[in-house]
């Protein structure tokens, strides 16, 4: 029945080709807001092309945290004095800002964690470990980051559950036809990334949710890569859980977000316990707070919340239209240039259809480490390794790859510099 449906990809996701009328970024103005970009490496201006790993911070994000420390620093929710009220307001403001970014129904759906990884672990322990039982199945894709894979693997061992893999095709994409075969009555959860941190593929989340829900499975979306690259609308996707990290969207480390649909949150028991998440503690028994607080044990990342608010404001002011357009242009240039080099092997979709600004490749005959090392000589920061996706690399028959990933501040010149510098790598190592 399902397989007879016409596949209509969620517009907001698949249709990533930039609207030619979308506003162009004022790149030099943007770059001026990132102090680190004036840094020189080995006499060259820094070309930071490792944005899938972490992003740089604009002045406003740094300033927001400095202001918090210099003006309002105190703990949240517990004091009646002025600083405590300001700190609490600052923290709850961040929750509202996240809700706005994700188009959540309410800020009560927003739980702060220390990052994406903690968010996945939270859902595995607070929701899945209660809701799933032996015989059930969890479906993940072959392109998952270890953080959205290992916690499920461990849970499967713990509960006697099966872990199924949704394989990728030759282009590094997921085939919706195959999904119909994979979704069984026993599938209770689909855990998938919205954008691959290696292949750059943009996955059809909305469509997956539709099919998963039709057989009663919930969907966890890893938005670590997507959050800074495209608008997310949790109501449109209709997913059940979604997670991302502050440091991947021009915000600070130390804070992350788990968004949970209200009806699912009601089913969740606490994971970490301690101060702040209780309603009453007796000697042998405790009762829990309601709402997101129930899942936020201990002093939360208060200062980081101020930075996260500023980061989201930065993104929303810049506008996803311009960001997507800019990053798509750069990625297209990069793909074009690399494809014309005969000794370069590129992984992931070759066209910009359903593709974001992450490009993994190898220079034949040279180890990725050596490529990255030599590129660093020219001030170019790219990553070499398996990028926390060993299952994907095995599938591709690789140990490692070089990965470049663009951000809002990258320039065409930087991409061209990378391509030129590959010659330098060849001269030294081939």
């Amino acid at each position: 029945m399902l397989s007879e449906e016409t596949v209509v990809l969620d517009q907001s996701v698949s249709n990533s080709s930039p609207d030619s009328r979308s506003p162009q970024l004022d790149l030099s103005q943007i770059r001026n807001r990132f102090p680190i970009l004036s840094r020189e490496i080995h006499g060259h201006p820094l070309a930071f092309l490792d944005n899938a790993s972490t992003t740089q911070k604009p002045d406003s994000v740094i300033q927001a945290m400095v202001d918090f420390f210099q003006q309002s620093n105190s703990n949240v929710s517990r004091g009646v004095y002025t600083l405590a009220e300001e700190a609490t307001e600052n923290y709850e403001e961040a929750r509202k800002t996240v809700a706005k970014l994700l188009n959540a129904v309410s800020e009560d759906e927003v739980i702060f964690t220390s990052g994406t990884t903690a968010a996945v672990n939270l859902v595995a322990q607070s929701w899945a470990s209660q809701q799933l039982k032996a015989g059930d199945r969890i479906l993940v894709t072959e392109m998952e980051h270890h953080s959205n894979l290992v916690p499920w693997q461990q849970l499967c061992k713990q509960l006697g559950i099966e872990l199924d893999y949704w394989t990728i095709d030759r282009e590094g994409c997921l085939d919706l036809e195959e999904l119909n075969q994979l979704l069984s009555e026993n599938t209770k959860l689909v855990a998938m990334t919205a954008i691959s941190n290696v292949l750059g593929s943009i996955n059809p989340v909305g469509e997956v949710v539709k099919r998963a829900h039709s057989i009663g499975a919930a969907v966890f979306v890893d938005a670590a890569q997507a959050v800074a690259r495209m608008p997310i609308d949790v109501q449109k996707w209709d997913c059940d859980f979604l997670a991302f990290s502050g440091h991947k969207l021009y915000g600070p480390t130390g804070i992350g977000v788990l968004w949970v649909k209200q009806e699912q949150m009601q089913k969740m028991s606490p994971w970490q316990t301690g101060g702040g998440m209780i309603s009453k503690v007796d000697r042998q028994e405790s009762h829990w707070a309601s709402g997101p607080a129930k899942f936020e044990a201990g002093t939360p990342p208060v200062a980081q919340a101020a930075g996260l608010t500023a980061a989201i404001d930065f993104i929303l002011e810049t506008g996803f239209d311009s960001i997507t357009r800019h990053e798509t242009e750069l990625t297209q240039i990069c793909l074009d240039k690399l494809q014309s080099e005969t000794d370069v092997e590129i992984y992931g979709p070759t066209s910009m259809e359903s593709r974001a600004g992450v490009v993994a490749f190898n220079l034949r005959g040279v180890h990725p480490h050596d490529v990255a090392q030599v590129l660093n000589e020219s001030g170019i920061a790219v990553r070499a390794g398996h990028h926390c996706t060993q299952v994907l690399h095995s599938k591709l028959g690789l140990q490692a790859s070089v990965r470049l990933s663009v951000g809002v501040y990258n320039t065409e010149e930087e991409i061209l510099r990378l391509v030129t510098s590959l010659q330098h790598v060849r001269d030294l190592l081939k």
């Binding site: 009646v80 009220e85 609490t88 009453k280």
Partner: protein
């Protein structure tokens, strides 16, 4: 607003001399509310005559704001229908949580409490009594549903 302004006039009077304090012997509805941040506790008893609130008592272990709010609430509730009282609670809470919203005329008697809107941490103290009342409203609806819906 300053403490001088908070702790004077109506609020202080209610805090010092809480109206309708205590409990009813055989209440029609009872609810407890609890503030996990400070351990404050409040018990609310209601006696109804059909759907009219005939009597109402509160027992508060809490700060003066919490005391005053409970006392002021009890005066508001008495004599109102459950429906009207529930509506009042809704308006009150809405205005309480929105710094910039206009307080409506129905809130006339509760206006002194609105000055606490700028003290976010005290809003919980103001709301506690009304949370208990909302719970009673829920229980009231459950019983009326039971009696009107054939089971």
């Amino acid at each position: 607003m300053s403490s001088e302004e908070i702790y004077k006039g109506v609020i202080l009077d209610h805090a010092r001399h809480p109206r309708n304090r205590g409990n009813l012997e055989d209440p029609d509805f009872e609810a407890k509310a609890y503030n996990p941040l400070c351990g404050d506790e409040l018990v609310l008893h209601l006696r109804l005559k059909q759907d009219l609130i005939e009597d109402c008592r509160t027992l508060v272990r809490g700060c003066s704001i919490c005391q005053a709010s409970a006392s002021m609430m009890s005066e508001e509730l008495k004599g109102k229908s459950m429906e009207n009282a529930a509506a009042l609670s809704g308006i009150f809470k809405k205005v309480l949580h929105q710094k910039d919203s206009e307080d409506s005329e129905t809130l006339e008697n509760l206006r002194p409490l609105m000055n606490l809107r700028s003290h976010k941490s005290r809003i919980k103290c103001v709301s506690l009594a009304w949370n208990a009342f909302d719970e009673c409203v829920e229980k009231f609806h459950e019983t009326t549903e039971k009696t009107t819906t054939p089971s």
